[in-house]
């Protein structure tokens, strides 16, 4: 048991977050390139994507937080531009239905096999 705790402690300690380095790339990956059919801004070479890239750069320089940048862009372009849809009334189902289904599935299997499982020699 001590070992288990030790291992998890190690894993926990080795968790490091280095925000600055990858923040810009992460933001660009979460934005949809509107003019190019389902690519992300980060992946796109279009003019539109280039402008958004430098705007995100500017906003980071100005000291805006990740969330604020998303807010700024979704105000101008609608939530269509965000690949990570924010949790609101119209996306509750999107975010929670998978978990509900997972639990229901587990329940179903539990009821089905309850008392039926025998250990095999």
């Amino acid at each position: 048991m001590k070992k288990v705790i030790f291992i998890f402690l190690l894993i926990f300690l080795s968790t490091k977050i280095n925000a600055k380095e990858n923040l810009k790339n992460n933001i660009l990956k979460n934005l949809r390139c509107l003019v190019c059919q389902g690519q992300t801004i980060s992946d796109s070479n279009s003019d539109f994507a280039q402008i958004i890239k430098s705007v995100v750069d500017d906003k980071l320089q100005e000291g805006l937080k990740e969330k604020e940048i998303y807010h700024f862009l979704s105000e101008k372009y609608g939530s269509w531009i965000l690949l990570n849809p924010p949790i609101k009334t119209n996306s509750y189902l999107l975010w929670f239905l998978p978990y509900i289904l997972f639990i229901l599935g587990g329940l179903f299997i539990y009821l089905m096999v309850k008392k039926r499982v025998i250990e095999k020699k």
Partner: protein
């Protein structure tokens, strides 16, 4: 028991199929419904010919504004230019042009050739300012009210139908 399962499954699939059917005819591209009704930001735009700035706050001085994003390299802009010239004759409406990522000389000769419909001409050389207006592709036109609210947004060249619609909006 069996019957109720059957009914439930059927209802589920009928629902799915109905949605699929309805979505077939829909236009799946980006639309601007989300943006209509928002207020535009107070942004400084460079004036096209003179040095100096135009702040969008000044929009409050006019009844209605049409904010038009254009460039000399964009072919559809050429197509809609006549409609813009028509619009510039409407009393209640002033057109503000934003020259988007363009070569200054080319833009000038474009206006000399086609006529200048703009009450105020501004420019956005690197295209970044336009992001504040949610510009997506050139040409684009927004109709803005006195209190800086977006009443309507057109992506792509304006045509006569749009002209009539704008006329109606502005008359109110």
């Amino acid at each position: 028991m069996k019957k109720s399962y059957l009914i439930l499954t059927s209802i589920f699939f009928i629902f799915i199929f109905t949605i699929f059917y309805l979505s077939l005819g829909k236009n799946k591209t980006y639309n601007t419904e989300d943006i209509v009704g928002n207020k535009i930001d107070e942004i400084d735009l460079e004036l096209f010919n003179d040095s100096g700035l135009f702040n969008t706050k000044e929009i409050t001085n006019y009844n209605y504004i049409a904010l038009n994003f254009w460039a000399s390299w964009c072919a559809p802009c050429r197509k809609e230019h006549n409609v813009l010239m028509q619009l510039s004759k409407i009393k209640n409406l002033k057109i503000i042009g934003v020259n988007f990522k363009d070569n200054h000389n080319n833009a000038n000769s474009f206006l000399e050739e086609m006529g200048n419909p703009f009450y105020i001409s501004t420019k956005d050389t690197d295209g970044k300012k336009s992001i504040n207006f949610g510009v997506y592709g050139i040409p684009e036109t927004m109709i803005i009210s006195k209190d800086m609210v977006i009443l309507k947004k057109y992506i792509g060249p304006l045509d006569l139908k749009d002209f009539k619609e704008i006329e109606r909006i502005v008359k109110k």
